[in-house]
């Protein structure tokens, strides 16, 4: 038996790939819920969890030998994140059963109410009834991430969201009443036609509700989505780079003035309320992913499951755990990942910590490539800590491409 103090913390992500319908900007793996047997999917996820994290951990060694038993030994999840899709479109019994199974694996010998594991469920306003919320609370879910995206109904309908702002406010208040103290609200800016004033209005309406956490994402128009098609064919105006940049800078000033910390490019939290699960990604920590299209990062390896629901279920039911995309992560790659991810955060990267793990020379080499950005005010460097400035964060692709 591995002794408790030698266990390494990791994140646990569970993907629920179902939605009422696809939003117009979404290019993530999600399917219309009506065409699937969700109960069977949830059982498959539990089965996969037992294969990967259960008492009889059993990973089939991948053909190339990259993924082996050793990859998962000694890992102990300290955060759980059920994302999607929309996890809360599942009937409450199904999601409830899944949550219960997760607790059983994550804290097998303990009462979950006594541990300090961050347990997040993503939700959309239209799915959150009073009953649903109190059941989630009862089952030990302690953090909600609600997709709002805009406070204006014209943009909600442009984005294909199946809810209004009023419905969001109602479910938000219900969630607070149900005992959720840690609620994150997602917003998107840089929408076609959106003005700076409208975006400020979005921010002030959300700040008024005083959520503990706000994520503000600049819209990405991904090829193949309905929204990008609308823009490409000139039916909707293309968001202008300068305006979107102004929105970003406004977001930072409005939210920091309202007491939120800008702790990652797109994320803001009341002090101490940063999302632990996501911080683990940005610290280049380990995590296990369950369900279709879920990603994992383990010792020396990254992998992802198939995006096809049928294929996933059939494999797991046959007792096979074999992800589709497995790649070895060399120390050099771990190092550049640590830079790429770490630079997303306000904390940045600590050269001394990295040097202990990867050696002085390669760390100094990468840090050296960032020097030219210091001169133009995009990167700050002090006492072995390198971080992006507010301006650097919104130009982060340019900077990160340097450390590949």
């Amino acid at each position: 038996m591995t002794s408790v103090d030698r266990l390494e913390p990791c994140g646990l992500y569970i993907h629920i790939p179902f939605c009422l319908r696809k939003c117009s900007y979404c290019d993530f793996v999600s399917y219309r819920i009506s065409s699937y047997d969700t109960a069977r999917y949830c059982s498959a996820v539990v089965r996969e969890m037992q294969l990967v994290l259960g008492s009889s951990r059993r990973i089939s060694v991948a053909d190339d030998g990259l993924l082996s038993q050793a990859s998962i030994e000694g890992l102990r999840p300290t955060t759980v994140y059920i994302g999607g899709g929309t996890p809360t479109v599942l009937p409450v019994e199904q999601l409830g059963a899944l949550i219960t199974s997760i607790w059983r694996v994550v804290v097998p010998h303990q009462d979950y109410s006594e541990c300090d594991i961050e347990f997040t469920v993503e939700a959309n306003p239209e799915t959150l009834s009073e009953e649903y919320l109190s059941e989630l609370r009862r089952l030990g879910v302690n953090r909600l991430s609600i997709g709002l995206q805009s406070t204006m109904d014209k943009y909600l309908s442009m984005l294909g969201r199946p809810h209004s702002f009023d419905e969001f406010v109602k479910s938000y208040r219900l969630a607070v009443q149900s005992g959720f103290h840690n609620i994150s609200v997602d917003l998107i800016y840089g929408l076609p036609g959106q003005t700076l004033e409208e975006w400020r209005e979005d921010l002030s309406r959300v700040v008024e509700l005083t959520p503990s956490h706000i994520s503000c994402y600049a819209l990405t128009l991904s090829d193949g989505t309905a929204l990008s098609e609308e823009v490409r064919s000139f039916r909707l105006p293309e968001p202008q780079e300068d305006l979107v940049a102004d929105m970003y800078h406004d977001t930072v000033s409005v939210l920091t003035e309202s007491g939120y910390c800008h702790y990652e490019i797109s994320n803001f939290a009341a002090p101490g309320m940063e999302c632990k699960h996501n911080m683990n990604y940005w610290l280049n920590g380990y995590y296990v992913g369950l369900g279709v299209a879920a990603h994992a990062h383990l010792r020396g390896v990254r992998y992802a499951n198939t995006a096809e629901v049928e294929r996933y279920i059939n494999r797991v039911e046959a007792g096979i755990f074999m992800p589709e995309h497995v790649e070895a992560v060399s120390p050099a790659r771990e190092l550049s990942d640590s830079f790429i991810l770490g630079l997303r955060t306000a904390r940045g990267v600590n050269l001394k910590e990295l040097a202990e793990r990867f050696g002085e020379a390669p760390v100094a080499e990468l840090a050296g490539r960032l020097e030219r950005f210091v001169d133009i005010g995009l990167v700050e460097s002090s006492e072995g800590q390198i971080r992006l400035t507010e301006q650097g964060m919104i130009l982060s692709n340019e900077i990160m491409a340097e450390v590949l």
């Binding site: 990405t220 780079e241 979107v244 790429i340 995009l378 692709n397």
Partner: protein, 601 residues
């Protein structure tokens, strides 16, 4: 066959007036090729030519013809290139003939290139047989075309032949006219050998092959021959003719046309226009008309990836084996690295070479804007030739400058005469004359700087005449012009590959146009980038590319780091394809920006 039975001729025609189709019909009707062998248009065999509908390489075909009266003839059909860049080659092909078929489209009438070539044929005393083609088309108007031929060329059009090369109608009459109207070659069989090289071709097994017309004497296999212009000597290893496939012979007699193989390394060993003579018993005088072909247009060719330099050199060397007019020498640009300054006969020649480098040699190349050769007289009285803006002397040291002028003829419907003249005015043209070919169409002649027609002249004329105009030009003379070097500075640094030589009066507009074009082509950088146009130290135009403000992947979905890396890698890849000018990343398109700048943009 007797010298008196030989007829050497070529076909003069505008693009699309049916030269290739008529040649095909002639080949069929003389039994030279069976219909089965007849791939469409036998004489054009390069892909590029087929796509562009032009003939770049010329060849000859030997045909046997028995006339209606039962007399036997030996025809040599000599193909001529159909583009102005190759006018010297055209003149050498014409010099190998005694007659020419002047093919004119019955629906279109005479075009500028046809005119230029027809005049050239007349200068060589060729017998011209007017052939009015496409008479099967409903819109054919042979009478109008006859009138044009009489009015503008002064030929008797009453004997013009009415033909449809497509249906075969009138083709026999063409063959009869070749036999009856074109005179036989007049050379002296007893005299020392003089054979005119009218084309050459590089073959990887045989080396260079010369296409020749024996003017005097006899050329035999095994003979030691001398090239009279270069003095080089070779031994003839193969002689032959095309019917149209290669057929070996032991000798080529006076008046005959064929090919010569003689262990010549490349086409520089058998220059077009040179005279082949017998090394043991050389002719006292070469045939007239030889001249050394000089490039008219230059540009820089650079590999996109610096490490492809060696490959680019190897490819240019290979092309040169087959193209004596292509010149190149190594050049270094601060902006583009190591590359070559290449000289071409003209714009088409340049395009063909660029395309072959990309297509046949799979090279990714950056081309700088083309320029001509300037003659600069410096303050200390020296005269230098400048074929590269980078070598332009400092403005204070320039006393005077001469640039090449070409005589440009445009044939256009009368309604577009004004539009054509406007183009010439914009292009610094000097009016020469205008004549009406017919009541409906005029020929407009201007002397224009070659540099002005390099860029968008052809497109401008075509678009302002809705495609109804045809254009021809020939070198005229070097003339004095008030020219200056316009420099482009990116982020304060002059970029050598972007400098251009322009007329002082146009510098302002050109500078503004270039700067505004570059502002659109160069992506926003991490800082403000000023773009300036300057003459000497005087800045005449300036714009600023504002710093990039947003480039972020806002969301990192569910720990999918791989996807994010791929995105960044693509971004990095894109940067690699850019040229680094100081801190500024410039896409390769920028170096061609000059080509797309309209002075008044």
């Amino acid at each position: 066959m007797d010298q008196s039975a030989i007829r050497n001729f070529c076909i003069i025609a505008h693009i699309d007036h049916g030269k290739s189709t008529l040649a095909d019909r002639i080949l069929e009707n003389t039994g030279t090729v069976s219909e089965r062998e007849m791939t469409n248009q036998v004489l054009d065999n390069m892909d590029l030519e087929r796509e562009r509908g032009i003939t770049i390489k010329l060849k000859s075909v030997r045909l046997e013809y028995t006339s209606r009266e039962g007399a036997k003839y030996l025809f040599n059909l000599i193909d001529t290139p159909g583009h102005v860049d190759f006018s010297y080659e055209v003149s050498r092909s014409l010099a190998a003939c005694e007659g020419a078929l002047l093919v004119v489209d019955a629906t279109q009438g005479i075009e500028a290139q046809t005119l230029a070539t027809a005049y050239m044929a007349m200068e060589h005393d060729l017998t011209l047989i007017p052939v009015i083609n496409k008479i099967d088309l409903p819109s054919a108007d042979p009478d109008r075309v006859k009138q044009e031929i009489e009015d503008i060329l002064g030929l008797d059009a009453s004997e013009a032949l009415l033909v449809s090369a497509k249906t075969g109608q009138g083709v026999i009459e063409v063959l009869e006219a070749i036999a009856n109207r074109i005179p036989p070659p007049t050379g002296d069989p007893a005299s020392q050998l003089r054979a005119l090289i009218f084309d050459s071709h590089y073959d990887s097994y045989r080396g260079a092959i010369a296409y020749v017309r024996v003017v005097d004497g006899v050329l035999t296999k095994g003979m030691r021959i001398r090239m009279m212009a270069t003095g080089k000597e070779f031994e003839v290893t193969e002689l032959g003719v095309f019917r149209p496939f290669m057929d070996h012979v032991d000798s080529l007699k006076t008046g005959e046309v064929g090919f010569v193989v003689a262990s010549m390394r490349d086409v520089k060993d058998c220059l077009v226009g040179d005279t082949i003579t017998d090394a043991q018993s050389p002719a006292p005088e070469p045939l007239p008309g030889y001249r050394r072909v000089k490039p008219m247009v230059y540009c820089g060719l650079y590999p996109s990836e610096n490490n492809d330099y060696g490959e680019l050199r190897a490819a240019l060397e290979k092309l040169q084996l087959n193209d004596s007019a292509l010149a190149f020498e190594p050049e270094t640009s601060a902006a583009l690295g190591y590359g070559f300054r290449c000289g071409f006969l003209g714009l088409l020649h340049m395009e063909v070479v660029q395309e072959r480098l990309e297509r046949e040699y799979d090279l990714d190349i950056v081309t700088t804007a083309p320029n001509v050769t300037y003659q600069v007289v410096t303050a200390d009285g020296q005269e230098i030739e400048v074929d590269n803006p980078a070598k332009w002397p400092e403005s204070v040291k320039v006393l005077s400058v001469r640039e090449p002028f070409v005589r440009v003829s445009v044939v256009a419907p009368k309604d577009y005469v004004g539009a054509v003249m406007d183009v010439f005015t914009e292009k610094r043209g000097v009016y020469r004359e205008m004549n009406f070919i017919s009541p409906e169409r005029a020929i407009i002649v201007y002397d224009t700087p070659l540099s002005e027609i390099l860029v968008d002249f052809f497109d401008m004329v075509k678009s302002r005449t809705r495609g109804y105009a045809s254009i021809d030009y020939e070198f005229d003379s070097y003339r004095e012009s008030d020219l200056v070097k316009l420099e482009i500075l990116i982020n304060g640094r002059p970029v050598d590959a972007l400098s251009v030589i322009v007329h002082r009066d146009k510098a302002q507009a050109m500078g503004r146009g270039l700067v505004s074009r570059l502002r659109k082509i160069i992506p926003r950088q991490m800082f403000d980038v000023p773009i300036q146009a300057a003459i000497g130290s005087r800045v005449i135009a300036r714009e600023t590319i504002k710093a990039k403000r947003k480039d972020v992947l806002a969301k990192c979905y569910g720990g999918d780091v791989t996807r994010k890396r791929k995105l960044l890698e693509r971004q990095k890849e894109g940067k690699k394809r850019m040229k680094q000018l100081g801190n500024v990343e410039v896409p390769q398109d920028a170096f061609m920006a000059v080509l797309r700048v309209d002075g008044d943009e």
